[in-house]
């Protein structure tokens, strides 16, 4: 039974739980066993909260027995990136500086998942402070791609994508600052959605770059992704950047198909620098859309070429400030030292890995007196221009489609020595963050030579996640599921 439970997608499991064909305890036990059996190879989890999960499952079963299920997620085993605070459960953001840190409260989205009755299996591996595109910047060891254990799952939400591909959980949450949900989703052959900035509360999410960070769901299917988004989206008065707009019903129009949909194809996104096999699959997906009755429209995002440059000023600038609180005074690591200055220096020198240090330095420099106008302010102007490009494109199309990443999952160690190459992995995803728009990654087949998943990226109008999900679902239905990942048995 347990193997077949693992093959169910989230919605199917939810249905089985509702029909009491399976219990949450069985599902949870199956997931915990699967984690035990596979995570030594995969490394998706930094922490498994087995006991809490079993207790939550028992409670969910008790509710189901009373006919009082809280939501479609009631009793469904999920896991969250270690950037989400969980009360009393160690939360590190993949950093040594937070080793052993026990938060006194739950992140808003964790609260929402618990309120929905979800079972939380544990905390997922990630690049330190979400800085990275391969999960290799985790202070607790890398995560591996279940499609090929020699390759990265992508990052920074590497654990969130790998856990799904390895069938360790039915849904996960990640965060996306420059592509950190979409790129790992593409690399691991799952669905990942970065919602519109402000759609999901950031309260209780360890901040990397506040104006870009956005939590979002990852799942094996589009419908599962929609279900998860439904559970976590919505206004939160503790996050003043969260939107008060009503949340759409993401499942209602999900099967609406692609007929009549105008799909914008940015000419800059297929203009080169793209792996040939990735391009083949992306173009194939676009043709599928046409066959389904959608119209392809060529659009232009001329300023997206400045996206990486602008991003690597804005994100480090904000990070340099957000990471100032890790000073050894109130929580987390405190290095022994003779005086205050030395305590700061030693704590931060030992606590932060190379990538946060690099970005703190970049950001500090970009914000320095005399450089602010030339760097940070100018980057913000680029941001406005990038958004205008999209606004212009959306006068002629409903969604913009293109690749998620220039390549499929790369090998561990392949780019660690070259941060710039690593940064370029985000070239197509970063613009949605800069423009605060929703972006989704949906599998569009396997690379013709390498046999690894390729993701199609869809970017939508602000708060129009429903259209993204409908479009993604149409493709998913048309092309059928990917084969199971061969990396883990």
């Amino acid at each position: 039974m347990s193997a077949s439970i693992l093959e169910l997608d989230l919605r199917a499991l939810s249905g089985a739980l509702a029909a009491r064909e399976v219990s949450s305890r069985e599902a949870t036990a199956a997931a915990l066993e699967r984690i035990r059996a596979t995570d030594g190879q995969v490394g998706a989890f930094l922490r498994v909260t087995a006991e809490q999960a079993r207790a939550a499952a028992a409670a969910a079963d008790e509710r189901a027995a009373r006919g009082a299920r809280l939501s479609p997620l009631d009793g469904v085993p999920l896991a969250v990136k270690d950037i989400f605070l969980t009360e009393g459960v160690e939360t590190t953001a993949g950093s040594r500086i937070l080793e052993g840190y026990l938060p006194p409260y739950d992140a808003a989205v964790v609260e929402r998942l618990r309120a929905a009755g979800a079972v939380l299996l544990g905390k997922l591996n990630m690049d330190e402070f979400a800085m990275g595109s391969s999960n290799e910047n985790s202070a607790y060891g890398p995560c591996r791609n279940p499609w090929d254990l020699a390759r990265t799952p992508g990052g920074s939400s590497g654990g969130s994508a790998a856990a799904l591909a390895a069938r360790q959980a039915w849904g996960t949450l990640g965060t996306d600052t420059g592509g950190s949900i979409r790129e790992p989703a593409a690399f691991c052959g799952v669905v990942g959605l970065k919602p519109t900035y402000g759609r999901v509360s950031r309260y209780g999410v360890i901040a990397f770059a506040s104006s870009l960070d956005q939590p979002g769901p990852l799942a094996r299917t589009v419908a599962d992704t929609a279900l998860l988004l439904q559970a976590v989206a919505g206004h939160d008065e503790r996050d003043m950047t969260s939107s008060a707009r009503p949340v759409d019903d993401y499942l209602a129009g999900l099967e609406g198909g692609a007929r009549g949909l105008r799909i914008g194809v940015p000419r800059e996104w297929l203009a080169g620098g793209l792996d040939a096999g990735v391009e083949v699959r992306v173009r194939e997906a676009l043709r599928r859309y046409e066959r389904m009755g959608a119209t392809l429209v060529e659009v232009s995002l001329p300023h997206s070429r400045y996206g990486i440059a602008a991003y690597y000023l804005i994100a480090p600038a904000e990070a340099s400030s957000n990471l100032a609180r890790y000073d050894g005074v109130r929580f987390g690591l405190r290095a022994p030292a003779r005086g205050l200055r030395e305590m700061y220096q030693q704590t931060r020198a030992r606590g932060f890995g190379a990538e946060p240090k690099r970005r703190i330095m970049l950001g500090t420099y970009a914000l320095s007196a005399g450089y602010y106008d030339a760097y940070y302010l100018r980057a913000q102007k680029v941001r406005t221009l990038v958004r205008r490009d999209f606004d212009e494109a959306f006068t002629r199309c409903d969604v913009v489609a293109g690749p998620v990443a220039p390549t499929v999952a790369f090998r561990l160690g392949e780019k660690v020595e070259d941060p710039l190459q690593m940064y370029l992995a985000d070239v197509f995803t970063i613009t949605a963050n800069l423009a605060a728009l929703p972006g989704l990654s949906v599998p569009c087949g396997l690379h013709p030579e390498q046999g690894l998943p390729v993701g199609l990226q869809l970017v939508g109008r602000p708060f129009d996640e429903a259209t993204l999900l409908r479009a993604a679902r149409a493709l998913e239905r048309e092309q059928g599921p990917l084969p199971p990942p061969p990396g883990v048995a």
């Binding site: 605070l85 939360t91 409260y105 950031r202 003043m240 950047t241 904000e318 340099s320 100032a324 109130r330």
Partner: protein
């Protein structure tokens, strides 16, 4: 050359804690004096994952203050992060405003040595207070951090360098303090640090156009210390200039024990605060209608009230100033006037009693006007008795004390204690005659020209009448008998 050969140029930056119940970005209490770290939560502790959530009362108070100071209120102002490391600053940055503050311009009138001048304001912005480092508490000599104050809302009110003497600086600060307390936005407590001031001080040769290099002086938590610090700093700078040196731009700390300022950090050590717009908070939008609503809700301001008392009630300037030092006293006085009358005579009588006996009793009791048992109608009643001659000065004082202590109606006290004065011609005549009869020597000397003895006779008659004789009638009768 000497200090007197130099112009002093001063600008003040005031940090005023706002009297909100909760902190600016979380629900923690702003109460002063609790156990260290009793009023903290994840937000004001700057724990991972927290976000600020703006207390709208802060904006309201900032707008109200700005309007009272004649500032223009920005329809859109922007929060900024001021980045620096210090243990009392939990997030490693202070949320403040930088390029686009909530209020700009405006000014405050001050009067020094009879001359009135307007001190222009540069800006007013909102920000969060930091906590406090606490030294010498732990047995092992380590220092602690108390974050009760972290996140208490502040207004920073920055003046232009329009002040030309320490007297002007002190007057400006007093006037500003009176206004903020009057508006109910600040408690004006310098000692507890809820009203703090930094001074930018420079000197230049008398009449010179070009401003000298300025130093910023911190840590002056009383008007006296402001005076001492600025006096010291001016002397120090003049000495440097006189000796042919140059004043270095630096931040200096006032040491109240030694009465001098000390270099804290030089320009080279100055922080680069790396200001940038706070991404966690949307810009503050202030609608025109909101501004108008706040404007309409403004009370009559202390200076306007003070001027009106001089103009309409013909009160001496000193009386008007005393009556308007605090809004509660001024409002009490208004209620007394409403019952006792607004003629110059009635107003003067009310002012004298308010600033005299009532102020003395209030001081002794330590109570603020709303807690006084003597209500304005009671004081008006007593003033009415005084005006009518029903009760004399000593009797009225006695009645006032009783009424202030117990809240009894003054008229009833006068009645019960027999404090009414005797104006009856016959009774006073009898007393006068008795006194004159037993003092033939004094009468003779008086008539011989020793007019000072009148005081003796009045005293004797009053004694004869147990203090209740109407002094006017007693005087008149004595005059008549002695001169006639």
């Amino acid at each position: 050359m000497a200090v007197s050969d130099h112009d002093v140029v001063l600008g003040l930056e005031v940090h005023a804690q706002l009297l909100t119940r909760s902190k600016i970005f979380c629900g923690c209490s702003t109460a002063f004096g609790a156990e260290p770290n009793a009023h903290v939560c994840p937000v004001c502790l700057g724990l991972p994952g927290v976000l600020p959530s703006l207390n709208r009362r802060v904006v309201e108070m900032a707008v109200r203050t700005g309007l009272a100071l004649g500032c223009s209120v920005r329809p859109r102002s922007v929060w900024a992060r001021k980045n620096y490391f210090y243990p009392d600053l939990p997030k490693g940055y202070q949320i403040s405003q930088y390029e686009l503050p909530i209020c700009e311009g405006g000014g405050l009138d001050i009067t020094v040595g009879g001359a009135e001048k307007r001190v222009r304001l540069t800006r007013i912005h909102m920000e969060e207070d930091a906590g406090k480092n606490v030294h010498g508490l732990a047995a092992d000599g380590s220092s602690g951090v108390d974050l009760n104050r972290a996140g208490v809302p502040l207004l920073e009110i920055v003046s232009e360098p329009d002040l030309r003497s320490v007297d002007e600086a002190v007057e400006y600060l007093k006037e500003l303090r009176r206004l903020l307390v009057w508006l109910g936005v600040n408690d004006g407590n310098l000692e507890e640090g809820s009203f703090r001031c930094d001074a930018n001080v420079s000197v230049k040769p008398r009449g010179a156009e070009k401003l000298g290099q300025r130093c910023e002086i911190k840590n002056m938590n009383s008007f006296r210390f402001l005076r001492q610090a600025v006096d010291y700093e001016v002397r120090r700078q003049v000495e440097i200039v006189e000796a042919g040196g140059r004043v270095e731009q630096e931040t200096r700390l006032f040491d109240p024990d030694r009465g001098e300022t000390r270099a804290m950090r030089s320009k080279e050590d100055a922080h680069d605060y790396r200001y940038f717009p706070e991404p966690d908070l949307p810009p503050v939008r202030v609608e025109e209608a909101f501004v108008e609503e706040q404007r309409r809700a403004l009370p009559e301001l202390p200076q306007a009230r003070e001027r009106r008392y001089v103009r309409e009630l013909s009160l001496p300037a000193a009386d008007a100033a005393l009556l308007t030092a605090e809004r509660q006293v001024a409002d009490y006085f208004e209620e007394v006037l409403a019952r006792h009358g607004r003629t110059p005579e009635a107003a003067k009588r009310a002012a004298n009693w308010m600033n005299g006996e009532v102020a003395r009793l209030a001081n002794e009791s330590g109570l603020a006007p709303p807690s006084w048992k003597l209500r304005p109608e009671g004081l008006a009643e007593l003033l009415g008795l005084v005006a009518a001659g029903t009760v004399g000065g000593p009797g009225a004082k006695q009645a006032l004390e009783e009424a202030f202590r117990t809240g009894a109606a003054p008229a009833a006290v006068v009645q019960e204690k027999g404090l009414a004065q005797v104006s009856d011609q016959g009774a006073i005549e009898a007393a006068v005659d008795a006194v004159l009869a037993r003092s033939p020597g004094e009468v003779e000397r008086y008539r011989a020209g020793n007019k000072k003895l009148m005081g003796f006779f009045v005293g004797q008659v009053m004694k004869e009448m147990k203090g209740k004789g109407n002094p006017a009638v007693v005087n008149a009768l004595l005059q008549k008998r002695l001169e006639g």
